[in-house]
């Protein structure tokens, strides 16, 4: 079971909302808005991005307690709860991409795969499990394949 803070959970809900509203028509906007950073790309055109929740986790509660273990940006509790969209402005976050800390309760790297349909050339984005670090492995996962099996998949339309 993954452990997250309430602020973390609310943020992920917001990211999910942004995802649902932009995945069909504006996938690039979603990547820009969430400050997604490229982790890996493949010759097959698959690109794996990471969205760090570290940059949004540092929430200062009224008691003075800071919820995140890694403090990058300090925001007030009210800002975090009432205006979480301010955390999604990519211009505010210019930090280097953080290492994968899946399982750490202080935050996560959300992994999102960006791929292009071979027939329509349309761009699609979808979330994949946090432990995946390669774009082609992410694509293999989407189809219940091993990476070796995906490498043998040549007929795509």
């Amino acid at each position: 079971m993954m452990q997250v803070s309430p602020a973390d959970f609310r943020l992920i809900e917001k990211i999910e909302w942004l995802f649902i509203n932009n995945r069909e028509k504006y996938p690039e906007y979603f990547l820009l808005k969430t400050g997604a950073k490229k982790i890996d790309s493949s010759k097959r055109g698959n690109v794996l991005y990471g969205i760090s929740t570290h940059t949004t986790l540092a929430v200062q509660y009224p008691s003075g307690l800071v919820s995140a273990d890694v403090v990058i940006k300090e925001k007030t509790y009210q800002e975090a709860m009432e205006e979480p969209q301010i955390f999604l402005d990519s211009e505010e976050f210019e930090e280097e991409f953080l290492p994968d800390v899946s399982g750490n309760t202080s935050g996560r790297i959300l992994k999102i795969l960006c791929c292009r349909d071979p027939s329509t050339k349309k761009t699609y984005i979808s979330f994949v499990p946090g432990e995946i670090n390669k774009a082609d492995t992410a694509m293999a996962w989407k189809f219940h394949l091993t990476r070796a099996e995906y490498d043998t998949l040549h007929v795509e339309a």
Partner: protein, 112 residues
């Protein structure tokens, strides 16, 4: 990751993966359609063009298989938005693409 398919041939058609298998499971039941996957949002279906028999499960399996078909001859898989692909004679499983749900399996840490 452990392979769920045994050195199979794979064909991707949009959000579907078509996997060559040795035989159709006995639990699958015959249907009288040429649609192997319904386009739930767009209404655009993935359809077989050629002599075939489609089998349905009624439930997804652990490896994402949602149905099967027998190609009695080399046939085509068609869809309005995707290029047509050629499928050789044989038995096949139909696997649907999956997605990771961010909001599953969370345990919220209470801060008071």
């Amino acid at each position: 990751m452990i392979s769920l398919f045994d050195k199979s041939k794979f064909f991707r058609h949009g959000d579907l993966l078509i996997v060559k298998i040795s035989s159709i499971p006995k639990s699958a039941s015959q249907t009288s359609t040429n649609i192997i996957a319904v386009g739930e949002k767009t209404g655009h279906n993935h359809e077989l063009n050629g002599s075939h028999q489609i089998y349905e499960l009624g439930y997804p399996t652990l490896n994402g298989v949602t149905g099967y078909f027998t190609a009695k001859q080399d046939l085509e898989v068609k869809h309005p938005e995707h290029n047509t692909i050629q499928i050789p004679k044989g038995n096949y499983a139909v696997v649907h693409e999956r997605e990771y749900n961010l909001l599953n399996n969370f345990e919220i840490r209470v801060v008071d």
